[in-house]
């Protein structure tokens, strides 16, 4: 199998499969082979499904032979973050407490992907219950960054980002609560979209923080990102927060030039970040801004005065919701039960041993924030500040079509660097969390590489349900730069394990 095969875009693969130029089995086989080479080193998957994937591919090929029409992702392998339910397939959320759990139903996005004739190839590693920024919090494995295996891939959707970066699959799904799609996308040099809250049904996404969680795609091109988003978006009667305003994106829209668009840059935030913002990222941002200006976009300065409170706000709201969402893991109806003695002892042993440190910490934090006597000072106040943060974004986006900002303050950091300092880890989400709280869409696109060869991603934040505009801006940049066409050395064809 040639490198071209696994480097091809999902769009091209689907076209080839639909036209019969390549069979779905051939496509799937080539990606499975790539994953065979790299997945164990990178620890991208918690569960691989080669047999099921080949079966699905064969069925697609048979349907093509029978002249049936195929979906827009025909024969395209896609990897699924392990907090998204796939019927009959282990779905552990990277947690011991769900060690043997297999959901009896498919998530909405899985139904949609199947309907689009995508081929599910496995469940990717993630921070336990999506809580983390490095995928070091998985109970099962530490995923490595394909660009430098000593570094983290980001998190919590680290496995999904890394698998696409390493060309083990052209597409994957992750989930983003405070940056869990955008940050690993930036660390791994791929596209990662956090859709508008409500654009994609959460039915079948294991909840972390319900008012923030969104499923989003990873891909290696802007158009592929749009393709997946179009397949999964829209209203679903099983999620009352899903919205009909989310409609499929016409890929032709992505080719429209950025001339005439206004792009806002939150200068004050960048200034305030000071030394915490890596010079390489600051430079990449400046360079991208000039590129857009040269392409005919108007650049303006936008203020997001309350964004500096985003982390404090987020680390009250998200853990509070999480503490409640994770109450169902009690060892009664599913999952691993521990302890002997009375009911309370069973609960405490099951949950005490079943959850890792980060999850425990956040449950404690959230329980505290909601408990009697602290609710007003913490949770309620955080919700009010959330209002201010959302207002900031809506006002700024009233003056511009998209906001250009960093995704992360630094490129991928070394494994273990922040593992013992939760607050430092939390602070690294400073640029991704604000858009999460505002509920607006954010796209991480690969901009360039730093001097050491680590990818640098930048973020475009858009108006509610206007994913197409930020994808269009990223596509304009991609036409000129195409940072995602570079492949990590260890993933390059013929390359061995590092």
């Amino acid at each position: 199998m040639s490198a071209d095969g696994i480097l091809a875009s999902a769009e091209a693969i689907a076209a080839d499969v639909a036209s019969g130029k390549r069979s779905a089995v051939e496509v799937v086989t080539s990606f499975l082979a790539q994953a065979d080479r790299t997945a164990d080193t990178l620890r991208t998957y918690l569960h691989r499904m080669p047999e099921a994937a080949l079966e699905t591919a064969a069925a697609i090929d048979r349907r093509r032979a029978a002249k049936e029409s195929l979906g827009p992702l025909a024969g395209v392998p896609i990897a699924i973050k392990d907090n998204i339910c796939v019927r009959g397939v282990p779905t552990t959320c990277g947690s011991r407490i769900l060690e043997r759990y297999c959901p009896p139903y498919d998530a909405h996005v899985i139904e949609r992907l199947r309907a689009a004739d995508a081929v599910i190839v496995g469940k990717t590693n993630c921070d336990e219950f999506a809580m983390g920024s490095s995928t070091e919090n998985s109970a099962y494995a530490v995923t490595r960054n394909p660009w430098d295996p000593e570094r983290v891939p980001g998190g919590s959707s680290g496995g999904s980002a890394a698998t696409v970066a390493a060309c083990e699959a052209p597409l994957s799904l992750g989930s983003d609560t405070g940056g869990s799609v955008r940050q690993p996308a930036a660390f791994c040099g791929v596209y990662g979209l956090k859709p508008t809250y409500g654009a994609v049904s959460r039915y079948g996404l294991v909840a972390f923080a319900s008012s923030l969680d969104q499923i989003g795609p990873f891909a290696r091109t802007a158009r592929d990102t749009a393709l997946v988003q179009s397949a999964i978006c829209g209203r679903d009667a099983r999620d009352m927060t899903s919205r009909a305003e989310a409609t499929p994106i016409d890929l032709n829209d992505l080719e429209r030039p950025v001339a005439g668009l206004t792009i806002g840059v939150p200068r004050a935030i960048l200034d305030e970040a000071g030394d915490a913002l890596a010079p390489s990222i600051r430079a990449a941002l400046t360079s991208a801004a000039s590129a857009f200006e040269r392409a005919g976009a108007t650049l303006i300065d936008v203020a997001l005065p309350h964004a500096r409170y985003a982390i404090a706000t987020y680390y009250l709201i998200a853990p509070a919701e999480a503490s409640s969402n994770l109450a169902r893991y009690d060892g009664v109806r599913y999952g691993v039960r521990r302890g002997d003695g009375d009911l309370r002892a069973m609960y405490e042993a099951t949950r005490g041993a079943g959850f890792g440190r980060e999850v425990t910490r956040r449950i404690l934090l959230g329980t505290y924030a909601l408990s009697a006597g602290y609710y007003d000072a913490f949770y309620l106040r955080a919700q009010k500040v959330r209002t201010l943060i959302r207002q900031d974004f809506l006002e700024a986006l009233g003056r511009c079509d998209a906001i250009l900002m960093p995704v992360t303050p630094t490129p991928a950091f070394p494994i273990g660097e922040k593992a013992d300092d939760p607050l430092a880890m939390y602070l690294s989400d400073i640029f991704s969390i604000p858009a999460s709280l505002a509920g607006v869409p954010g796209l991480s696109f690969p901009a360039t590489f730093d001097a050491t060869g680590l990818p640098i991603g930048l973020q475009l934040v858009g108006r509610p349900f206007d994913e197409r505009t930020i994808l269009r801006v990223a596509r304009a940049y991609e036409r000129e730069h195409d940072a995602a066409s570079r492949v990590p050395p260890l993933a390059a064809a013929g390359g061995g394990a590092p």
Binding site: Y101, P103, Y105, M240, A327, V332
Partner: protein, 494 residues
């Protein structure tokens, strides 16, 4: 029962009880409040469950529109304010029958506030105010082993988890167990009239907890309250409240203090006792349910519901008094259910004698219903047939006695009273010749009493009348029979 209670009568008079009730009513929807599982009662364990009501990861609640409609109807019926926006909240606590580890309920922004329920008390009519009515989901069922040796597991059935409930919280305006009983009876009646709840306490579709405190008469502040649970019938509510009032008064009188606690009513022993389990201080950590949107109701929709509400017990009672000229007491009895009132109205119209129709239903019909149980809907005699019967009695076509015989036959024979009269030969005997023949027969069969009468013992005449009436199986026209008897006695002695 309080007469023999711990507190003496004199002490009892010095105190006033303050009682508030929390009623949970199961709404009569086909499906659960947040999923499409059936709510039917009595299914075998864990057959009416799905990923949502099992609390599996990843599933989300979708609100049942019918449950909202029923809750709003109830609010409208009791004159509550229906809030155009209410908010669902999570009430967090751990229990094996609570699959998600939280109950979805409403907290600081309930669906309905205010309103009241009118009751009759010894001192006259009284309206018990309502604090609120809110929507919430039921929990499942934990089946605890009952002290069996070596058995240490609790079994959990989640069929009931997620069944829609309304919680109706009264103001602390009830003063006695009897008032509580009246309030519950009235509330249940309203729910049944609305057809939003079947009111069945045995199946748990109506449940009640009582908050009870006492204070010296004239004192404005409330005393410390206790909560009584496990009240499985309205009568238990009444008894348990009386018991607890008495206990608290006796405690205060002996210099003690009431401790805020939860008590369980033991109906077998007639006592309320502290719950054994060590309760940690409740901290439910309520917060707005992020998986559900605020419930926004359209004002026009609410008005349409208001306009389509069925006639409620009080209005129906007043109308029966007005339209049929029956006493208020009769109307109260006849409006027990909407179906009974309809039955009455048809009977009254058919018979042309509303008060007599009322008497027949309140005595004959209700006596049979009390004996065989069951609602008026399943009563064996159709209203039109009963109306015919009442009409026949009223017109003197049959005697009251024959009427009752006919009624008995109609319980098992679907034919109308007229046909039954023919079939069983129950037409009255008022023909003079026939009555005289009957008299002769009876006198011949009773030579002794006949002789006694002739000897001047006037009292014996009643006996002979009775014998003749018996012989006619009640069909003989009473006055004419007497006349015939006297005539025959006279002619035979002459």
């Amino acid at each position: 029962m309080t007469k023999s209670g711990a507190a003496g009568n004199a002490a009892r008079d010095r105190y006033e009880a303050v009682i508030g009730l929390e009623v949970h009513a199961q709404l009569k929807t086909k499906t659960k409040i947040f999923c499409a599982c059936s709510t039917s009662f009595g299914a075998s364990a864990n057959t009416q469950v799905c990923p949502l009501c099992l609390g599996l990861p990843g599933v989300l609640p979708v609100l049942n529109g019918r449950a909202v409609e029923f809750a709003v109807m109830t609010g409208l019926a009791v004159g509550a304010t229906i809030h155009p926006r209410s908010v669902f909240a999570r009430k967090n606590y751990f229990y094996p029958d609570l699959p998600k580890g939280y109950q979805i309920s409403q907290y600081d922004r309930p669906l309905c506030e205010g309103g009241g329920v009118a009751i009759r008390t010894a001192e006259g009519p009284k309206v018990i105010g309502l604090v609120r009515i809110h929507l919430e989901e039921d929990a499942g069922k934990s089946l605890h082993p009952e002290g069996r040796e070596g058995v240490s597991t609790t079994r959990v059935d989640l069929n009931r988890a997620g069944v829609p409930l309304i919680e109706i919280v009264s103001e602390p305006e009830l003063r006695t167990g009897e008032e509580a009983y009246q309030y519950l009876t009235k509330l249940k009646q309203i729910l049944i009239y609305l057809d939003v709840c079947d009111g069945n306490m045995e199946e748990g579709s109506l449940r009640c907890d009582a908050n009870v405190s006492v204070r010296p008469r004239g004192q404005a502040e409330f005393g410390t309250k206790t909560e009584i649970k496990n009240l499985n019938s309205f009568r238990y509510v009444e008894k348990a409240i009386a018991y607890e009032i008495d206990r608290q008064i006796a405690l205060l009188e002996s210099g003690g203090r009431v401790v805020q606690e939860t008590l369980l009513w033991d109906s077998a022993r007639g006592v309320a006792e502290t719950m054994r389990s060590k309760e940690e201080a409740h901290d439910y950590r309520y917060f707005p349910e992020p998986d559900l949107l605020p419930l926004d109701l359209d004002a026009a929709w609410i008005e349409r519901l208001r306009a389509s509400l069925p006639e409620l017990p009080d209005a129906l009672r007043a109308r029966l008094v007005r339209a049929h000229g029956i006493p208020d007491y009769d109307a109260e009895v006849l409006t027990e259910t909407r179906a009974l009132a309809a039955y009455y109205e048809e009977t009254a119209a058919r018979s042309g004698h509303p008060k007599l129709a009322s008497n027949w239903i309140m005595t004959e019909v209700n006596a049979v219903r009390n004996k065989i149980g069951g609602s008026i809907e399943t009563f064996p005699i159709r209203a039109d047939r009963l109306g015919d019967l009442v009409g026949m009695v009223a017109a003197g076509r049959v005697s009251g006695k024959i009427g009752k015989q006919l009624f008995e036959k109609m319980l098992t024979d679907p034919e109308g009273p007229e046909a039954l009269v023919q079939k069983h030969g129950l037409l009255p005997i008022d023909d003079d010749a026939a009555l005289r023949a009957l008299a002769r027969e009876v006198l011949a069969a009773n030579p002794g009493p006949t002789a006694e009468f002739r000897a001047g013992k006037e009292k014996t005449f009643a006996y002979l009348v009775g014998q003749a009436m018996k012989q006619s199986r009640g069909r003989a026209h009473p006055e004419k029979l007497q006349a015939a008897l006297r005539a025959v006695l006279a002619e035979e002695s002459s």
